[in-house]
């Protein structure tokens, strides 16, 4: 129950996050034994920069405690959708937390909502959507790539969020979302190369009482066509935005005080704390286009 229910102690089958430092995180499934190449069960040992970790030893440990590695130590953390986003195996490009936060907020999601997502991709957003609509809502997530859909579905089951997430292998551009979801959704999210082709299908699945729409597109040409399609389909409050989160690096700095009259360098120093963003930061992730379908 590691993603869907917060808990204290690590059990077999949980996913845990191994925290070495802020930039060195790993997600690990707690399986004490794994088969080797001769198909014999052997102790599961996870290798890190600071040495090996015996997975068996994690069982019974408290989340948030220190565990020893053969050449150091690390923390074992409770998984969260945000930590998963940082550690998940990439099968596609993924959406990161700043955009995810905005998407959830702008789609008016809360527990009990029904939200439709396409494509599933690597499931980064899906985990956060599942958290928001749980325990009694549903995320219906679609991907046209058969293998990706299958891997994602297995992951959702492994993370025990499959009671909230329903995965489908389907090309929604061609086929829409299917009749079963007609007029059921509170919100639709699209991260597709041709989102405008899905706008009419989105209209069909959104509740009669209205709902919200979001499309994430890296290119402005996609945004333009999506906005036109939204306008033509009766959407209101169409809004496009870009949202970035910059981390500030905090450092203590000391600089000499310059005296223009003196020849030699001054002994006097000034010390301050600086907080600057990294020299290079992501300057663009994608455009987020939101819209409301009013009740009909």
């Amino acid at each position: 129950m590691s993603f869907s229910q917060l808990k204290e102690t690590i059990e077999e089958g949980d996913t845990v996050i191994l925290y070495l430092n802020p930039l060195n995180l790993h997600s690990i499934e707690v399986k004490p034994e794994i088969p080797n190449k001769h198909d014999e069960l052997v102790d599961n040992v996870f290798q890190t920069k600071y040495g090996a970790l015996k997975i068996k030893g994690l069982i019974g440990q408290k989340f948030g405690s220190k565990v020893s590695l053969s050449k150091g130590w690390a923390y074992v953390l409770h998984p969260t959708p945000e930590l998963w986003t940082l550690t998940l195996p990439h099968r596609t490009q993924i959406i990161y937390s700043a955009d995810i936060s905005m998407i959830i907020f702008q789609l008016d999601l809360k527990p009990g909502c029904i939200v439709i997502e396409s494509g599933t991709g690597s499931g980064s957003l899906t985990h956060a959507l599942a958290r928001t609509v749980s325990p009694n809502g549903t995320v219906h997530t679609f991907d046209f790539h058969k293998q990706r859909a299958a891997i994602a579905e297995a992951e959702f089951a492994g993370h025990k969020i499959d009671s909230v997430v329903k995965s489908y292998h389907r090309d929604v551009c061609q086929l829409g979302f299917g009749p079963d979801l007609d007029s059921l959704a509170d919100a639709v999210f699209l991260d597709l190369p041709l989102p405008w082709t899905v706008v009419p299908h989105a209209v069909k699945v959104i509740k009669k009482s209205g709902g919200r729409f979001c499309s994430f597109s890296p290119c402005i040409e996609q945004v333009k066509r999506t906005c036109e399609a939204l306008h033509d389909s009766g959407f209101r409050e169409i809004q496009t935005m870009e949202c970035l989160q910059r981390e500030l690096t905090v450092r203590s700095r000391t600089v000499p005080i310059l005296h223009p009259d003196k020849e030699e360098e001054s002994e006097e120093k000034m010390t301050f704390t600086s907080a600057l963003p990294q020299p290079t930061v992501p300057g663009h992730t994608g455009y987020l286009t939101f819209a409301t379908l009013p009740p009909n």
Partner: protein
């Protein structure tokens, strides 16, 4: 609270959002409700019972220039329909600003308005009497009409408030009154603290009109727990009220005064302080961070801490002792009544008064406002001494909950420098759970960052700022909007872990 769960109809007593063009306003709908939109007074009587998203047209009331009533209409006529597609120029080389392009005088235009002409008619006449409009390019014509639309738009749509709209309205109206907390940063608070609907969260909020409280309650949906700590005799709840929460949403809500909570939660550390280290945004009295006595004040001490006596007396004395507090209070009152709305103002005032007298903080009580607010204000106080008042029971409940199982997250949004508060509350947070601190200023949160870095029981301390840019998307005219918000505040996130070393 209400037997009918119908959320699609405009109901008396509930909060609504009025949208006129790009302008939005939160309003509580009372009997014979009127609302000011700009300089126009609008009678809202006719909207009750209609569905949200209905279009209403503003129609002049007889005999008055700026008073309107609302009638249902199919759709809002856009002024852009006035454009004659065949008449337009290719560029502006022949358009000269000599002040004579409009043939009508200002007086004549005012007269049209005073006669009760519709916006459509007035702008139609403006175009007819303009020498240059027809020479403008298509885009320039649209831009001109969009500008006129701002002034003459006469349609109103009524929306159901939700957290997105409320955050947007409060921020765009006056960012300072919500501590510059922009919607992107607000949304990041929810994810950074890993807000699970079934979790238990601890929140201290001071200075953003209940916005963060409303967000957390919205995301709990009545499932988990929110233990909300507030600084003074009453907390700001504008945003919470505007959400029209149902009783089931509020079941997860426990709201207690910080000082009462701390006293009960940590009875050993006595809450006596030598001087009133009144919390404000300056980093006062915080330097001796190892002094347990000072620590207990959390930089937020009230006069209650000083005399350790009856909270009710202290509430009143607070204002006298600390000019800063007094200032805060007027601020609050202003916040809740500023909706320039005669119908809204009295209940709000009344609420503040009653809450002062009774110290009850339960929201369902405040929701009674619309029903005339007949509250048993004094009964609680006058009960037999053995019987605990409602607020005491709330404190007991909060302490009980956190004594058995620790919190799944800590959120601190305030004007004050919160290091002492964090030192206290961090003990109540379970391991491997997150804390989030928001500050509108960079300097104090950088200082806080440095202090937290020294602690053994938090890891992954991260300081971020966010950037949000809106776009105009129009055929051949797509670009970022001219104005953008320059700061959405600063967020510090960290994970609480066990300070113990691993058994090796």
């Amino acid at each position: 609270m209400e037997p009918s769960q119908d959320q699609s109809t405009i109901k008396l007593g509930e909060y609504i959002v009025l949208q006129k063009g790009n302008f939005m306003k939160i309003h509580q709908l009372s009997k014979n409700s009127c609302v000011m939109l700009g300089r126009d007074k609008i009678d809202l009587t006719s909207i009750i019972g209609h569905k949200f998203w209905t279009n209403f047209k503003m129609v002049h009331k007889k005999g008055s220039k700026r008073e309107f009533e609302l009638i249902v209409c199919d759709k809002s006529e856009s002024l852009l329909n006035l454009i004659d597609k065949d008449v337009r120029g290719t560029d502006n080389r022949d358009i000269w600003d000599d002040g004579s392009s409009q043939l009508m005088s200002a007086d004549e235009i005012f007269k049209l308005r005073d006669r009760g002409c519709s916006g459509q008619d007035i702008v139609g006449q403006l175009l007819e009497n303009s020498k240059t409009f027809h020479c403008k390019t298509e885009y320039s014509q649209q831009k001109y009409l969009k500008k006129k639309e701002k002034k003459y738009f006469e349609y109103v749509v009524v929306l159901r408030p939700n957290i997105r709209v409320i955050a947007q309205i409060l921020f765009s109206k006056d960012p300072q009154k919500v501590l510059n907390l922009r919607s992107d940063t607000l949304s990041q608070i929810v994810t950074a603290v890993n807000l699970q609907p079934t979790g238990k969260y601890l929140l201290y909020e001071n200075g953003c009109q209940g916005l963060v409280t409303a967000v957390v309650l919205n995301h709990l949906g009545g499932n988990g727990r929110l233990i909300h700590l507030y600084p003074n005799l009453h907390y700001q709840k504008h945003a919470v009220l505007a959400m029209n929460f149902q009783q089931k949403d509020l079941d997860s809500f426990i709201s207690v005064r910080l000082s009462s909570f701390l006293k009960k939660m940590f009875p050993d550390s006595s809450c006596k302080v030598s001087g009133p280290s009144v919390g404000n945004c300056k980093l006062i009295a915080c330097e001796n961070s190892n002094d347990p006595q000072l620590e207990s004040s959390g930089g937020l001490s009230s006069s209650e801490v000083i005399n350790g006596g009856n909270t009710h007396e202290c509430c009143e004395r607070d204002e006298d002792i600390s000019p800063r507090r007094g200032c805060l209070n007027t601020d609050d009152t202003e916040v809740s009544t500023e909706e320039i709305d005669p119908a809204h103002e009295p209940p709000t005032r009344q609420f503040i008064e009653t809450s002062q007298s009774s110290q009850e903080q339960k929201l369902e009580d405040s929701a009674l406002i619309s029903d005339g607010c007949k509250r048993k204000s004094s009964t609680d106080d006058n009960d037999a001494p053995s019987k605990k008042s409602k607020w005491e029971l709330e404190v007991d409940k909060a302490v009980d909950i956190l004594s058995t199982v620790k919190a799944d997250g800590l959120i601190i949004i305030c004007k004050e420098y919160p290091i002492h508060l964090i030192n206290r509350l961090i003990k109540l947070v379970a391991f491997s759970r997150n804390m989030v601190v928001y500050s509108m200023y960079q300097e104090p949160i950088v200082k806080l960052f440095c202090e937290l870095k020294l602690r053994k029981d938090v890891i992954g301390v991260k300081l971020t700022e966010s950037f949000l840019r809106n776009y105009q998307v129009l055929p051949d005219r797509t670009h970022p909007e001219i104005n953008m918000s320059s700061s959405g505040g600063f967020l510090l996130t960290a994970t609480v872990v066990s300070p113990e070393d691993c058994p090796s």
